[in-house]
Point group: C2
Chain length 546, copies 2
Amino acid sequence: MSLKEKTRGATGNASFTAQARAHQERLESQIPISLRLPVSVLDNLPLDVTSIPESCGLLTPAELAITELDATAVCEKIAKGELTAEETVVAFGKRAAIAHQVTACLTDYFLDEGIAQAKELDAYFKREGKVIGPLHGLPISIKDHIPVRGRWGSGGFLSNVELSAEDCDMTRILRSLGAVFYVKTNQPQSIMHLESQSFYGRTLNPHNSNLTSGGSSGGEAALLAMKGSCMGVGSDGGGSIRGPCSNCGLYGIRPTSKTMPMNNYIWYQDGQDGILASTGPMCRSARDMRFFLNAVFGARPSLLDPNLIPVPLSNPDLSQRKLRVGIMMHDGVVMPHPPMLRALELVKAKLQAAPNIEVVDYIPFDHDQGYSLTREMYYEDNGDTLRRLLAEGGEDILPLTEWVISPPHTKGHNAVEMWELHDKRDKYRRSYSDYWQVYGLDVLVCPPFPGTANRHDTARYWGYTAIWNILDYPGVVFPTGLKADPSIDITRDGVKPMSQADEYNQALYDPEIFTGAPICLQVIARRFNDGLALAAQEIIERIIKT
Amino acid sequence: MSLKEKTRGATGNASFTAQARAHQERLESQIPISLRLPVSVLDNLPLDVTSIPESCGLLTPAELAITELDATAVCEKIAKGELTAEETVVAFGKRAAIAHQVTACLTDYFLDEGIAQAKELDAYFKREGKVIGPLHGLPISIKDHIPVRGRWGSGGFLSNVELSAEDCDMTRILRSLGAVFYVKTNQPQSIMHLESQSFYGRTLNPHNSNLTSGGSSGGEAALLAMKGSCMGVGSDGGGSIRGPCSNCGLYGIRPTSKTMPMNNYIWYQDGQDGILASTGPMCRSARDMRFFLNAVFGARPSLLDPNLIPVPLSNPDLSQRKLRVGIMMHDGVVMPHPPMLRALELVKAKLQAAPNIEVVDYIPFDHDQGYSLTREMYYEDNGDTLRRLLAEGGEDILPLTEWVISPPHTKGHNAVEMWELHDKRDKYRRSYSDYWQVYGLDVLVCPPFPGTANRHDTARYWGYTAIWNILDYPGVVFPTGLKADPSIDITRDGVKPMSQADEYNQALYDPEIFTGAPICLQVIARRFNDGLALAAQEIIERIIKT
C-alpha cells in the first residue's frame, strides 16, 4: 500500500471533500520546500521510519543532537546559555516537518511563529540574564483540539474546525512559562478512537507504518517517536494519552482529573461530566513528566479555572520503605497478546528479585462492569449530537466512530437514567476503592493496552486504560525497552476466549505483523497519588532495565 | 396558636397518617417521663423558649453548666479528667429532651445508647489514661438523613424512612474519634426547604416560636440554640447549614464540596451531580467549626471515600498583612430586611475603622442567573421522582415542596439538555471567578438570608446561600450579637422592588414580628479556601464585637 493510501483521511460528500482538501493543502503548503523529502524516499519507505530524519540529510548534526535531548535537558541548556531558543525550535521544527511527511502526524505547522517567539525569548535572556520561566525556550507540540491563539484546531471533524482566537488556559500558562509553539498534531474523528484518522489524514506508527500510532493523541505520539518534539500535550478520557504513548514507546501520564487546566479545549459535548477527561504531558523521559506537571502546577491554574483542584504533586521518598506493587497480568475481560504477557512476566520476576519491592498478584475487581459503565457515559445522548455534527459537515462516519457510538453501550438517557448511571459509577468507584484497600497497594503494574500497537482500524478495546478513567486513578505509561519479537512471542493456540472482546483481540494476533513494536507498561496509583505513581514508575523502570 | 398546632407536621392519607402517628408516638415515648415538662408549662410558653431549660428545674446546676460549654471545652475537660463522658451526655441529653418538647427539634432520642457509649469511653480513659481520639466523649447531634447504626433516618418523608443498618462514613469516623450519639434531628419533607416541617412535625425557632428555625438542618439549629447540643452535623445543598444557623444565631460552615464525607447520606436522587451538597458542623463557637473539620480531616476520609478531595484545612496567619474584605449589601435580586441592613452597615463601619482591614464595596455578578441555574439543577427530572415517592407514602406535598419543584425553574431534561445546563453552570463559575479575581478579595461579608428568621412557610428565597453552592465557595455563618429591634428596624416604604422575589420578601417584613430574632452574617471565600474563611471570620467577629 502506498504512503498516500496508508495516510488517507475521512471521507464525505463533495462539500466535505473540497473543504478537507483545502485544509490538507494548507498543511502541505506550510511545510517549507527546503524540508521536503524527495519522492524517491517517500516511495521507498521502510516500515520503520524512525531513522529517516538522520538518513535524509536535511538536518545538521547539531540539529540532530538537539532533537535527541529531553525537555529537562533542553531547558537546562537554554538556561545556561548553551543553546538558544531559536536554534532549538528550528531543530525540532525541521525534524517535525520530516516526521509529518512519513507519518501524517500534524494538522498545523507554524515554525515561523515559533522562531519569532524564540527570538523574543533569546532577546529577553540576553537582556535580563535569566529565563522568563521554567519552560523558557522549550518547543511544545500541541494536540489539535487544544487551542493555540491564531492557529487551527478541531474536535477531529470538519464541522467544528476553528481558527482559535485565544489561547486556552493550558497554552496561555505554557506560553507564560516560556514555551514555544510550532506545530499542532493529529487526532481521530470525534477524538474518540485509540487510532488517529481525521479529515487531515491517518497518522502512522513510526516504528511500523502498518500499525496505528494510537489515539486520540496519536499525532503527538508519532511526532515524539520521530523526535520532532520532546514534549507534547495530550488529553485522555479513555486512554488517549496512555494508548498512543504505549503504541509508540513513550512516556506519558494521565493525571488525576481536574488537576491540570483543560478549560476551552475544543469538545462537542461541553457539560458532559459523567466521565472526566484529563490532560497531561507526553514525552521521551520519565523525569520530563514531573518537570511538566510541576511547571504547570507552579502557575497555580486553580486561580484561573475554578473547576481545578489545588492538590500539588507529591515527591514521596520511597528509599526508606518497601514499595508494595501489584501485578495484573490481565483484566479478566481481554487477554493481552504474547509480547505484553512476556513483558509482564519479566517485570514480575525482576521486581520479585528486588529487595525493596513487595510483589502481589492482583486480581481485578469487575473491570467489565466498570468499562461498560464508562462506555455508556461517553454518549449519554445516544451519540445523536456527534451524528448530527458529522452530517452537518457532510462527513462519513468512520468505522471506529460508528463502533463507539453504537449499542449496546450507547443509548439515550433522560435525567433519571443519567442519575442512575452516575450513581452506579459512584458505587463502582466505592467498591473498587474498598477492594484496593484490602490489597493495600502503593501502585499497580498492568498493561496499558492488550498488546503492542494494533493494525489500523482494529483498536477497539480500551478497557486497560478507560477503567482508570472511571476510577480517576492516575496512570503512567513507560517503555520497557522490549519489542515484539516473532521468534519468542508465538501465538498461543487453543485458549478459550474470556469474552467477545477477547475473541476479537485474540484473532488480531499474528507474531510477524507486530515485529519490532515497542512494549510499554502502565503504573497506576490511587486518585490524587500522581506523585507516587511517578516515583514508583522510576523505581520500577530502573529495576527492570538493570 | 397552641404548641400542638404550631408544631403540626405533614399530612396525608389514612395509611400515611397511621404511620406518621406511629413514628411520632415512638419519638414521644422515647422521652423519659422524668424529663417531661408539665402541661402548665407547655400551655403557657413564651415566644422565646430559650430560658425554659434553666427555669423548668429538671436539670441540676452542674448539668446546666456543662451545657453552657462549647465542644472544644467539653473535649478539653474530658481529656483532663475534669468531666466524664457519661455526665456530659446525660446533661446534653436531658436538655435535648426539654428542647424537643418546646421546639419539636428531634426525630430520634436514644440517650440510653449514648450513656452506654459514654461509659465505655470513660472505662477506656480510666484504663488507658488517655482519650481514644480528639472527640472523646463529645455528644454530637445528627441530622435525620445522616445514618447512625441502628437508628431511624429519612429523606424528610415517610416513604423513605429506614432503620439504618450501618453508620455512614461520617458517623463511623466521628464514632471512631470518640463522639457519642444520642439524638437525631428534624428536617423538612424532601430536605429542600429553608424550614423544617416533616411527618414528625414542624420545628420552631427557640428565640421566637412564630418564626422558623430554618432548614433543612432546622432541627439541629433549634436544638443547638436550646443548648441541647454543642455540636451538630448538618448538610447544605442550598443553604441547609447556613440558613438555620443564621435563623437561630449559631455558627456553621458549608465546607467546599467533596472535602467532608457524606457517602450514604439518605437521599432520593443519588447520582444527581449538577449541584453538589456538602456537610459540616453547626455549633456555638467559632473555634468549634475548625475543631470539627480538623478532627474529621485527620481521619483521612478520602481513603474511605474515593469521591473526596484531600485538600487539608489551612490556618493562614493573617496577622502580618491587611485582610481585603468585600461587603455585599444586597445581591441585586432581593433587598434584605432592615435588621440585616443595619448589621451590614455596622460591620462595614467597624471594619473600615480597623487598621488591618481593607474594605471594598462589592457589586455581585449576576446572582439571578446563578441562582436560577441552581434551581434548575435541583430537579432535572421535573420533580417526578419526588412526587412519585411522596405519592407512594400517601403524603401530601407541602407548600414549600411544591414551590421548589414547580416551573419555571423545574422542568424535565434529556441528556443533551443536562449537558447544556451543566455547561452553563461551568461557564457561570468561570465568569464569576474572573470577576472575583478583579476585586482581589480575601473574603466577602454578605447576608446569609434576606433578613432574620422568617415566619413559617415563607422562606422562599435561598439566593444568599445557594449562590455559593453553585460556585462551591465555602461559607461561614456567625452571630453578630445583634437582634431585630422594632424601635430601630423600621419598615422602609416606597422602595421599588428589584424582582418578584423581592416584592414577596418586602411584603413579609413587619418590625414587631421579628422582635428579638438574632442577626447573623456570612463570610465567603473562594473554593478550597475554607481555612481562610474561618480565620477571617474570627478576625471580623472580634472587630465587630469590640
